[in-house]
């Protein structure tokens, strides 16, 4: 007999781990939407944030102070990136900007590990990664907490984009850069702010992922998990990042459990990519992505 309870458990586990992917993907979407840059360095920023935070805590900084300091550092980093990398590359083709962020990710990764060392740090954010049982289904506490944080973050963004001046200017720039310039928005300032916000998202993602995997180099590889999420959801939609994350999480786990045994397991690494790829062939700009209109 088919074990439905097990299916549900796998599905919920997948959906919840998908939320973790969404957290990373949101950072990408923010930057892509406002500046058209696919920021490959988001994973490196995640690593940098988590590593900075952990190292500060290990050196005896109180939790809140370390959080504030890391936040400040991430904001400074975002603004510095805008100044030194993006501003000189304004109006370059998107793929050039992408390659620049690839270089940037090397710089940030190297700097993070040069500063704080390469050893693995444990990170305790006060939520244990132990499962508990709801109606016979095991659910991880950390996953649930991450889902709550992601939900809170999205709600916060919704308010931010709706009611604050900066949020409105983000939307204006995302809508139409030239129109935004014409009404007097300062694009470089908006971009700086967006990178700072992406830095904050990286910090949140870094702490949650760090609590799960330990803070180490492989943290920057979650960027590779976020890419199929972006492909599925569309590069420029926050809703897409959430839905895409849930889909990818569920697909990965279901594929690993139900399809994996036929191939000897381990298909998690590429299952999401293959599904995303198949999906792209039908809808080349993702679920919620903007359609591309090309003119000669």
């Amino acid at each position: 007999m088919f074990d439905y309870q097990f299916l549900i458990e796998v599905l919920i586990g997948g959906l919840l781990s998908g939320v973790m992917y969404s957290l990373v993907a949101i950072g990408f979407v923010l930057i892509y939407k406002t500046s058209g840059v696919l920021n490959f360095a988001q994973g490196a920023m995640l690593l940098f944030a988590a590593l900075t935070f952990v190292s500060l805590v290990e050196r005896g900084t109180p939790f809140v102070a370390a959080l504030a300091a890391t936040l400040a550092i991430m904001i400074a980093l975002g603004i510095a990136v805008e100044r030194t990398v993006l501003r000189p590359l304004v109006n370059q083709p998107p793929i050039t900007l992408f390659m620049a962020t690839l270089g940037l990710s090397y710089v940030i990764e190297g700097a993070a590990q040069l500063l704080w060392g390469t050893q693995v740090h444990g990170l305790d954010i006060g939520i244990s990664d132990t499962p508990f049982e709801v109606a016979g289904v095991l659910i991880s506490r950390l996953d649930l907490f991450a889902a709550a944080v992601a939900g809170g973050l999205v709600a916060l963004f919704a308010l931010f984009f709706r009611y604050t001046r900066t949020g409105l200017s983000f939307r204006a720039v995302a809508d139409d850069q030239f129109a935004a310039l014409a009404v007097g928005l300062r694009l470089p300032r908006v971009w700086g702010a967006v990178w700072a916000v992406a830095g904050i998202v990286a910090l949140v993602g870094g702490l949650l992922w760090g609590a799960r995997l330990g803070v180490q180099f492989s943290l920057s590889l979650v960027v590779l998990k976020a890419l199929p999420v972006l492909v599925l959801g569309g590069f420029d939609s926050i809703a897409g990042a959430i839905v895409g994350g849930l889909l990818v999480g569920a697909i990965e786990k279901l594929a690993e459990v139900y399809v994996g045994p036929f191939f000897g397991g381990g298909i998690e690494v590429w299952a999401a990519y293959v599904v995303a790829l198949g999906f792209l062939l039908i809808r080349p700009s993702g679920l919620f992505g903007q359609k591309l209109v090309e003119r000669v």
Binding site: L89, I95, T96, G264, I267, W270, Y273, L277, L281
Partner: protein
């Protein structure tokens, strides 16, 4: 490489002279004068990476399709050649090389199919699928590595007829020959109508379609050609350079390394691929010497790797900002400053 076209005038020019000197030195002096360390750890990897970079340059630099999966095709080439050698007794080495390249090309075309629908980032992400899938398959299925538990393969001795290439110098000469021949063939392809189609597709796909460039054929040719070259480079990497390889050696970092070679060396420049490869091979060696001299024992291998990452990453950004045409543009400028230009230089 630009020199080939100029010989069309019939007169031997200074450039053909230089190329001639280069070939004489590469074949006549280096294998005898170079130490095993130089040949094995510097020149052979340089040649192999240069060939892989030429392959990626065909796809990314000329045809404008970004790929993050080059290492996958290196791996396909290496493992295909290994299996062909193992399972087809008496298969001549050169045929093995060509077939392995052909298999890499076939797989490259399969993974290139999405390029018909996808552009830019979406395509770049889809090439990652090739990267992960190939690495997974090679580790997972023991058949590919003749049931070695960790997927490691040992290269056979390179042998053409009764001549075998075993010493560092011999393997260098073998690689050199393959790389030179394939680079010249690539140059011919790029100078043909197909090569011009690549550039048309890169510069404006819709416009290219409007003027009658066959998109399907052009893109798939670019993917096939590129994967073939990278596949052969993979064979050389496994057979002539490392001689023992595992799937983990063909990871995403290797793909990025090849991409960095063409960015730093110069996109859409075959000479750039060579300069970039030379830089990527020599730079870590230089950095470790300089670092050790300046900082002493603080500069251990961990610090070396990190500072290497930082400098390479920073260089990528600096080149993209200051000289998007890469090292080769700097080279050309320096060259024309040294001697008065008699002809306008055509970048190749």
């Amino acid at each position: 490489m630009a020199h080939l076209a100029r010989t069309k005038t019939g007169r031997p020019t200074a450039e053909t002279l230089w190329i001639g000197i280069g070939i004489v030195v590469a074949y006549g002096v280096v294998p005898f004068a170079g130490s095993d360390y130089l040949l094995d750890a510097v020149l052979t990897p340089f040649l192999v990476l240069a060939l892989a970079a030429v392959g990626l340059n065909v796809l990314t630099g000329y045809a404008g399709q970004v790929s993050l999966g080059s290492a996958a095709f290196l791996a396909v080439g290496a493992y295909a050649a290994y299996n062909l050698h193992l399972r087809v007794p008496g298969l001549p080495l050169l045929l093995d090389l060509v077939l392995a390249g052909g298999i890499a090309a076939a797989i490259g075309i399969v993974f290139g199919l999405p390029s018909l629908r996808l552009r830019g980032f979406y395509l770049a992400v889809s090439t990652l699928a090739a990267q992960f899938f190939v690495q997974w398959a090679l580790t997972k299925f023991g058949w590919f590595s003749n049931d070695n538990p960790s997927g490691v393969i040992d290269a056979p001795v390179l042998r053409i007829g009764s001549v075998s290439f075993t010493t560092a110098a011999e393997r260098y000469v073998f690689s050199l020959t393959i790389v030179v021949v394939l680079t010249l063939l690539t140059l011919l392809l790029l100078r043909s109508q197909s090569g011009r189609n690549f550039i048309a597709v890169r510069d404006h796909e819709i416009a290219a379609k409007v003027v009658g460039v066959p998109l399907l054929r052009t893109k798939l040719l670019a993917f096939g050609m590129s994967s073939f070259l990278i596949g052969v480079a993979g064979v050389l990497w496994a057979f002539a350079y490392l001689r023992t390889v595992e799937p983990a050696g063909f990871n995403l970092d290797r793909s990025f390394q090849i991409l960095f070679i063409i960015i730093i060396g110069g996109l859409a420049s075959l000479r750039g691929s060579f300069i970039g490869a030379a830089f990527i091979v020599v730079f870590p060696l230089l950095l470790s010497r300089i670092g050790a001299a300046l900082l002493g024992r603080v500069f251990d291998s961990g610090v070396l790797e990190m500072s290497q990452h930082i400098v390479i990453g920073a260089l990528i950004i600096v080149f993209l900002i200051a000289e998007p045409r890469g090292l080769i543009a700097l080279w050309d400028r320096a060259w024309s400053a040294v001697r008065p230009a008699r002809r306008p230089t055509i970048p190749t």
